[in-house]
Amino acid sequence: MSTLHTVNKSPFATNALKSCLDHVSDGDSILLIEDGVYGASNNSAMADMVKAKMKQISIIALKPDLDARGIDETRLLEGISTTDYAGFVEMAAKHDLNQAWL
């Protein structure tokens, strides 16, 4: 059993990403979408919190939302990969469960 968590809020604005990181299980994935993709950027005050969880779980960011916000690959935290909507669907199918952190 594994869960795909989706986070669509900026980690600088709300506690959604923090709470999600506090409640994931080993082998889960977090997909950052919409304003959630700001959580994927390096050099920010949130970067350490995100990095600390990356041994335990995968963190992926939705490229269409990164592009919209002007976040290119040089600005991504090391270890965060990107995907498109087709990849989003694949991830949702691969994991047993989806949990949205609104």
């Binding site: 059993m1 594994s2 869960t3 506690n15 709470s19 506090d22 409640h23 994931v24 299980s25 889960d28 469960l97 989806n98 949990q99 949205a100 952190w101 609104l102």
Partner: protein
């Protein structure tokens, strides 16, 4: 409607009244109770505020729906998991929450508490062990 029994978890992370999510989540739970699924409710982050005692909404003119939580036992919704760390961060303890009970048919209708205080690790395990998670 079907003989599938799935584990449904309603995740409540928002405070009542400021936004409608807490109320409309409760409306789903009440309707969902008719479907004989294995239902649990999770209260974490600001969701724990939904269960506090002494809510009085007269002066804001909004309907007070906190008494409805007391009816959940009659709908056989009996597993309300509340996260300890979320309470503590907010300066709350179990004593600040409403007492919610259900009657156990298999135990001579004994009254049992519906609220179960669990820690963050147990909450994570609860979330992982579901078929459907509805987030509010």
């Amino acid at each position: 409607m079907s003989e599938v029994v799935k584990k449904f978890l309603y995740v409540n992370r928002k405070a009542p009244y400021g936004t409608i999510y807490a109320l409309e989540s409760l409306e789903v739970v009440l309707i969902g109770a008719a479907f004989d699924q294995d239902v649990s409710l999770a209260f974490l982050d600001d969701g724990v505020f939904q269960l506090t005692k002494g809510q009085d909404t007269k002066a804001i003119g909004v309907k007070n729906f906190s008494p409805t939580y007391r009816a959940l036992g009659d709908y056989e919704v009996t597993k309300l998991y509340v996260e300890k760390q979320s309470l503590e961060e907010r300066g709350l303890s179990e004593d600040d929450l409403q007492e919610l009970v259900w009657e156990d048919e298999d135990d001579d209708w004994a009254e049992k508490p519906s609220i179960r205080i669990i820690d963050r690790k147990e909450m994570a395990a609860l979330m992982a062990d579901q078929d459907v998670v509805l987030s509010f």
